[in-house]
C-alpha cells in the first residue's frame, strides 16, 4: 500500500497537471472574486472564508477524475484489483494520494490567499484549521464519485453533478466554522460536525467506492 502511495505521488508530481493545476485554479478564483464583487475591504473580509472554502472545493473537484481514470485506461487498475490488498485499501490510498497533492497544498495556500481577500487576523488560522480537517472528506467523497464514473467515456461533467451535492454538508459546516472563528465566536460545534463527516467518510466511503469499482471492473 505504501508502494502504491509512493507511485501515485510520483505520477502526480512528474506527469504535471493535477498538482499545480488545482493550486493555480484556487489562486485564479480568489483573484476573480474581487473583480466580481468590487474591491471594498469590508465586503471582501466578510465573504473571504466562504469564498476560500468554495474555491478550495472547486479546485478539489478539478482533479477528481484523475484518481482512477488513468489507471483504468491503461489497465493498471485491473492489476491492482487482483493484487493481494483489498479494494477498500486501494481506494483509501488513492484518496490519500489525492489529498496529499491537492487538499494539503490548498490548505497551506489558503491563509496566504486570505491576505489577498483582506481576511481578519484570526481568520488565517481558522481557514487553515477548517480546510485541514475538511479537505480529507472532500478527497474521500470525490474518490467515491470517481469510482462511480470511472467506466464512462466523458464522466467529467457527470462527476461534478454527482459529487457537488455530496459536498454540501462539508461545505456548510466548514464555511460556518471558518466564518464563526473569524468573527471571534465559538466555532467548536460546526468544527466537530465537520470532523464527524470527515471521520465518517473515511470510515465508510471506501466500502461504497470499492463496491462501485468492482461493478465497473466486471
Amino acid at each position: 500500500m505504501i508502494a502504491l502511495l509512493v507511485r501515485d505521488l510520483r505520477l502526480a508530481m512528474r506527469a504535471g497537471g493535477g498538482f499545480g493545476l488545482g493550486l493555480a485554479f484556487f489562486l485564479i478564483v480568489s483573484t476573480l472574486v474581487p473583480f466580481g464583487v468590487g474591491p471594498e475591504a469590508a465586503i471582501l473580509s466578510r465573504i473571504a472564508p466562504g469564498i476560500l472554502w468554495v474555491g478550495a472545493l472547486l479546485a478539489c473537484l478539478l482533479s477528481l477524475d484523475r484518481i482512477f481514470q488513468l489507471d483504468f485506461e491503461d489497465g493498471s487498475l485491473d492489476l491492482l484489483a487482483t493484487a493481494p490488498i483489498p479494494m477498500e485499501g486501494i481506494v483509501g490510498v488513492k484518496a490519500l494520494a489525492h489529498w496529499l497533492v491537492t487538499g494539503l497544498p490548498l490548505t497551506l495556500a489558503a491563509p496566504v490567499l486570505g491576505t489577498l481577500m483582506n481576511l481578519e487576523s484570526p481568520g488565517h488560522f481558522w481557514i487553515f484549521i477548517t480546510l485541514l480537517i475538511g479537505t480529507p472528506a472532500l478527497s474521500m467523497i470525490g474518490a467515491f464519485g470517481a469510482a462511480l464514473t470511472v467506466g464512462l467515456k466523458r464522466g467529467g461533467l457527470l462527476l461534478s453533478l454527482l459529487v457537488l451535492p455530496l459536498y454540501i454538508p462539508t461545505l456548510i459546516f466548514g464555511a460556518e466554522a471558518a466564518t464563526r472563528g473569524t468573527a471571534g465566536l465559538s466555532a467548536s460545534t460546526p468544527l466537530l460536525m465537520m470532523a464527524g463527516i470527515t471521520a465518517g467518510s473515511i470510515a465508510l466511503l471506501p466500502f461504497a467506492a470499492a463496491a462501485a469499482l468492482r461493478v465497473n471492473l466486471r
Partner: protein
C-alpha cells in the same frame, strides 16, 4: 405469494397489468373530488385569501417528493441485497416522478411565497433542503442515463442512492444549522399542519391520498415501461450477437 416471486418480471407484469386499472380508478375518485372540494368549496382564509388553495397541490407533492426518495432507498437496498430485478426498475421509475414532485413543490411554493412572504425564494432551511433534494434527484437520474448496460447502471445507481441518502439527511440538518444558527429568527414558519382547521384539513387529506394513488399508478406504468425497455435491450444485444 411473496415479494420475491415478483422478482420475475413476467409475474410482475401479469399482476401489475391487472391491478393498474383499479389504482387509476381509485386515484381518479379521490384526487378529482379532493381537488374540486379544495378549490371550490372551502372558504377563503383570513390573511391568505384564495392563495390558501395552493396547499392542495403544494403539501401533497412535497410529501411525495421526500417519500419517493425513501422508497428509492428501500428498493435500491433490495436490489443490492437480493438482486430483485423489478425492484431496481421501480427505483428508476420512481426517480422520474420524484423529481417532478420536487419541481411542483418548489414552483407552487414560489407562487405561494410571492403574495404571502413578498418573495419567491428565501434561503429558509426547508426551501434550501428541497433544492438540495432536487440536485440529488438530478445526479441519480444523470447516472442512470449515462450508463448503457442496465445491470451496471442498476448497481452503480443503487450505491449512489444509499450514499446519497446519508448525505441528503446530513444536508438537511446542516442546512437547519446553517440558517438558524447564524441568522437568528427566521420568521417564516412552515409548520402549517398543526394550525390548519378541519375545513381545509379534510380535503387536504383526500388530496394527499389522491397523490399517493397517483404516484402508485404512475410508478406501475413507468416500471412496466422500464421492464419492457430492459427486455428490448436484451433482445437487441442477442440479435447483434447473432450477426457477429
Amino acid at each position: 405469494m411473496s415479494l420475491w416471486e415478483f422478482a420475475n418480471p413476467v409475474k410482475f407484469m401479469a399482476l401489475s397489468g391487472k391491478v393498474l386499472p383499479w389504482v387509476i380508478g381509485l386515484c381518479a375518485i379521490t384526487l378529482i373530488p379532493g381537488m374540486i372540494w379544495g378549490f371550490f368549496f372551502t372558504p377563503e382564509a383570513t390573511n391568505f385569501g384564495n392563495s390558501v388553495k395552493i396547499i392542495y397541490i403544494h403539501v401533497p407533492s412535497a410529501m411525495m417528493a421526500i417519500n419517493i426518495w425513501v422508497m428509492m432507498l428501500v428498493t435500491s437496498l433490495i436490489w443490492i441485497v437480493r438482486r430483485h430485478h423489478v425492484s431496481v426498475r421501480a427505483a428508476k421509475a420512481a426517480a422520474l416522478i420524484g423529481v417532478t414532485m420536487t419541481v411542483i413543490a418548489l414552483i407552487t411554493g414560489a407562487i405561494w411565497g410571492q403574495p404571502m412572504w413578498g418573495t419567491y425564494w428565501a434561503w429558509d432551511p426547508r426551501l434550501t433542503s428541497f433544492l438540495i433534494l432536487f440536485l440529488f434527484y438530478l445526479g441519480y437520474m444523470a447516472l442512470w442515463a449515462a450508463i448503457d448496460n442496465p445491470d451496471t447502471a442498476a448497481d452503480l445507481t443503487s450505491v449512489l442512492c444509499i450514499v446519497g441518502s446519508v448525505f441528503a439527511v446530513l444536508s438537511r440538518y446542516a442546512v437547519n444549522f446553517w440558517n438558524q444558527g447564524l441568522h437568528q429568527g427566521a420568521s417564516l414558519s412552515l409548520d402549517k399542519e398543526e394550525h390548519v382547521s378541519n375545513v381545509y384539513f379534510q380535503p387536504l387529506l383526500l388530496c394527499i391520498a389522491g397523490f399517493i394513488l397517483l404516484f402508485l399508478a404512475l410508478v406501475l406504468i413507468r416500471t412496466r415501461t422500464e421492464l419492457r425497455l430492459v427486455r428490448l435491450h436484451r433482445l437487441d444485444v442477442r440479435e447483434r450477437m447473432k450477426d457477429a
